[in-house]
Symmetry: C2
Subunit: 258 residues, 2 copies
């Protein structure tokens, strides 16, 4: 079976299956994107989480970081208030950790070119840790990921290590990140719509070898993609709108249009 | 010029340039990997950071999350002690944040197949947020990234929000993560050596179309890659060695060997 037929078969199989997450449904904030992608013949989503604030309780067995048991004290996809965290923390017996996790979305793509377009949309929307995976038999997947997290240890062996005032302060930051994440999700949706429209225009009105022109033009217009931009974006994330150099990364200048 | 010749030209140009990071040299812990990769004709590294603990001071102008100025109070690639952080925190005027950032490595690859092999090495070594980027003109890059971070707000508008005891507790965790990161870097180096040796054997002793067999065999032996493994690895990271389901991710089962 050729890869395109195999992709179709897999998409049908995947979308007809029950949602196996405990929640059993797609998060509201990412539903529009999931529906838009699954409505295109070249994509289907295989997992998604719109973003969440979670409180974990880890019990460390021995000294090995890997040998940890972990249970969930609280999970929310909405803004979180101090009292909910305080109540949940009372159940902590090990090391409780508060995390904000931004959108994660896995999209299987028919071919590499489709993944490239979607990758570009993700990066332009602020999901700068996104990346493509190509399996040994050609399965092409885009993982949409952000740099935009938070991971804060709160208690040690059941003992709270911070004040309620700090938890309040922390939740303001976590909720702010949740809001920013939502904005990026909206940006992603609109960029995706735009890219898909351009793609349709290109494939219907232009000769085959020019299919990608609109995508290239779009990239050229992006002011952030100027010649000489450095590649090491992850560690530059703190330096946006800032003149400081990054003291920690060994790097080289890289022209964008290579 | 064909892509392979262009790759050679670029590699030569890139490696002859001065290191433009403020530090001006490759971090010691990642030097072996950088040298091993740059010694292969199919790879060259464009940026690297072995991993670090940093203390940032953000001054928020207005309400916009994006409109932030940010300065570095402390950067270290080694284990960090409380007193260094306490001293550095005295200079904080805005919102100080302590972060642990694991290895980040960008490697340009001659072709997609080379990136796939390196990606597999990265994933198998624990760098599960790694991903491939393919530029519009075929530039193929692997970003090696980990899920293994820490991001903790410590002060607000110059006022310390946590105790010294908490900072001590936090640094133990950060230093532990630094150690675990080093182990993963070592694992990456050995996996890479192994993959390159297998690759050499394959390309010299087998017909062209079987070049990747060793890579496939290696993957099949990996016990973590069993049939039916879920794709949403990022958000599963807390659930290693744990029977809990992830309550937040909408997903589907995905056979590994598709």
């Amino acid at each position: 079976m050729d890869l395109s037929a195999e992709f179709k078969r897999w998409k049908a199989q995947c979308l007809s299956k029950a949602d196996l997450s405990r929640k059993g449904s797609v998060d509201e904030d990412v539903l529009e994107i999931v529906q838009l992608l699954n409505g295109q013949e070249q994509f289907f989503t295989t997992s998604s989480c719109a973003g969440r604030i979670i409180l974990l309780d880890r019990s460390v067995n021995g000294s090995e970081v890997q040998k940890q048991n972990c249970c969930w004290l609280l999970v929310t996809h909405k803004a979180c208030v101090k009292d909910d965290v305080i109540v949940a923390l009372q159940k902590a017996k090990g090391d409780a950790i508060l995390k904000f996790e931004p959108l994660v979305l896995h999209v299987q793509c028919r071919q590499l070119q489709d993944a490239q377009i979607l990758h570009s949309v993700a990066i332009d929307s602020g999901f700068r840790n996104s990346g493509i995976t190509v399996g040994k038999r050609g399965k092409t997947m885009l993982a949409v990921r952000s740099t935009h997290g938070l991971e804060v240890p709160l208690s040690h062996q059941g003992k709270l290590m911070v004040t309620e005032e700090y938890i309040n302060f922390l939740l303001k930051i976590a909720n702010q990140k949740m809001e920013e994440n939502k904005k990026r999700i909206e940006r992603f949706y609109h960029c995706l719509q735009h890219a898909l429209e351009k793609e349709t225009v290109s494939t219907t009105s232009q000769p085959k070898e020019k299919v990608n022109t609109s995508y290239i033009r779009k990239k050229k217009r992006n002011p952030g993609k100027a010649r000489g931009k450095r590649v090491n974006e992850e560690h530059d994330k703190e330096l946006e709108n800032n003149d400081h150099d990054d003291p920690g990364i060994s790097d080289t200048i890289f022209p964008e249009d290579y």
